[in-house]
Symmetry: C2
Subunit: 87 residues, 2 copies
């Protein structure tokens, strides 16, 4: 089951990730940066030592989320290091 | 003149950085991550494709900012890639 929440006004996907340590967080940030460059999609990211909050907005000219945003969210989840996955 | 703003309740330093492109932003994030590990200080960071907002909080048991926080802010500024410096 996806942990992404869909919100309105403005349309966006949000999710929080937690990490056992800073090293694991950084590894994830590096992977997501590569994904951003591949997809040309740059979410808003807020992080501290062991957490990351992500907000994926709709395209600028679109009122609604599209397939592009949902695929990005799925691909992000797939990049999560094993150390940060729930047991 | 420093662009850091000192704020109260809770005591914190805040600054926004802007970047010409995502590559320059990532380079800066990498440098700051190394500084965080050296100093054992992990600010709250919020970023998108070409901006970064930073909040440095006081130590957990302290009501006020200390020398540690101010030094971190200065050292962050010194890590800014040339491409992101005002002309």
């Amino acid at each position: 089951m996806s942990e992404w929440k869909e919100r309105a006004r403005p349309a966006r996907l949000e999710r929080r990730y937690e990490f056992p340590d800073y090293e694991t967080l950084r590894e994830f940030l590096d992977r997501v940066a590569e994904l951003s460059e591949q997809e040309g999609l740059y979410p808003d990211m807020g992080f501290g030592r062991t957490y990351l909050n992500v907000t994926i907005h709709a395209d600028e000219d679109a009122a609604q989320l599209g397939e592009r945003q949902r695929r990005f969210a799925e691909r992000m989840d797939a990049l999560l290091p094993a150390a940060a996955r729930p047991m």
